[in-house]
Symmetry: C2
Subunit: 258 residues, 2 copies
């Protein structure tokens, strides 16, 4: 780190003013940080550091990991395979399904998925007092076939906080604070490395300009528009309530053994 | 900066634990920082960044600059050439003299020197309630011959604050927090680049292990032990009060024209 910091200073002939400005941004990051907001993590996110750490530590043959983000909450309610996350919420229905697999393509029974996402307003219930606790937060355990299935709504793109020094950096470099919409997953299974990741709809307008650099080619999932609810799986709890147009998503997670 | 941060992550295969620890140190630096203490500047100092910025911005043909440090105060009292900084303080007397010169060796008349240093206890009056305001802080203006002269005491080595994350870094890397003793100077003259620097006694035990990397070969001044106060300059205000043993120091500052 010291070698790289020094090379940076030498290569740029960093002036005292530039050096002071950098230290000022760090001092301001300290001032705006709190147990609820960590501006240093945000700096790491918008500089691509968090994602790069994910990438260098991702095994080549499993699903890539991606940023955990600040909105994960422990203790989300258990939902059966086929269960519903929509409840009374508004939004376009999405039926998400897939399997948890080994690198050999074998289904993993009893794998646990933690799932969380924004409501249609782009906010997580962790940050939105208008939503019930744990709205769009769930835990699900795969059956013998390694399959998971749930109904939800489309998550929404949102901005990272840009009212602090990390935002100043974004704006000064001509960038915006938007992240493409995504579903967060933590996938755990005995004998396998835990996977922390997020998956992105293929049609999101911010897919190639994520402020946090979380998108990977293998983490893009196809949103297929469906017109016939009768084609949906029979074990989908709210199958009879879903009306066209809706979306279906099929996405498999591949876990690497320990 | 981004290129270097990314190369650092790639070259070290930085783990999530290491990444989290780095972010934790920054968060803690924010928590311990205040208008009176800037842990980010301290990080910059102990990583050699502050000194490197000084070095890349120092003109090759003048006196090198060195770290300003956090204890500079504006508004120090004016002291005539030959004046005294000791007053009622204890310590070994040092008579410091020299000239402010152009790069051609011509004396600069009317150059202004700001001078500050620790008392014998290793504390600056800016941080020590036991000392009078501006104790060992002075401003002095050179006469037609470019000369400055004052009596003071030997400054003392001291430690940078090591009770925060920068101290944790020092200790984790087997380093100590000591700085060699030094006199601070800011030298200003019309038509010349302002010089912010510090000068170190040649016999200081920490000369080659300054926690803040402020020492440069050209900033080391010889402390010559004197035995005959009668040899001291006649315009030294307290000449008649100085008793052997005392030290004399002769150090010229070379300013680069703008």
């Amino acid at each position: 780190m010291v070698h790289h910091l020094h090379d940076f200073v030498r290569e740029t002939n960093l002036t005292h003013d530039e050096w002071r400005k950098g230290l000022e941004l760090l001092y301001q990051a300290g001032e705006i940080s709190s147990p609820e907001r960590n501006e240093f993590v945000l700096f790491s996110d918008v500089l691509g550091l968090s994602s790069l750490v994910d990438m260098v530590n991702s095994p080549a043959d499993g699903t890539p990991s991606s940023v955990l983000g600040p909105f994960h909450m422990r203790g989300a309610p258990n939902v059966e395979v086929g269960g519903d996350l929509i409840g009374d919420d508004k939004g376009v229905a999405v039926v998400v399904s897939g399997r948890v697999l080994t690198t050999n393509g074998q289904p993993i029974a009893g794998a646990e998925l933690e799932i969380w996402q924004t409501a249609e307003n782009g906010l997580y219930s962790a940050q939105d007092e208008q939503q019930p606790d744990y709205n769009f937060y769930a835990c699900m355990k795969t059956g013998a076939d390694g399959r998971y299935l749930f109904s939800t709504v489309r998550p929404a793109p949102y901005t990272v906080p840009d009212d602090g020094p990390a935002g100043e950096l974004l704006h000064a470099t001509g960038r915006h604070p938007w992240r493409p919409s995504h579903l967060h997953f933590i996938v755990t299974a005995a004998g396998h490395r835990t996977l922390v990741t997020e998956v992105f709809p293929s049609d999101d307008p911010y897919l190639d300009q994520d402020a946090a650099f979380g998108v990977r080619e293998q983490l893009i999932m196809d949103y297929k528009e469906g017109n016939n609810p009768g084609d949906l799986p029979d074990d989908l709890a709210i199958k009879s309530l879903i009306k066209a147009p809706f979306y279906t998503v099929d996405f498999d997670f591949v876990l690497v053994s320990k």
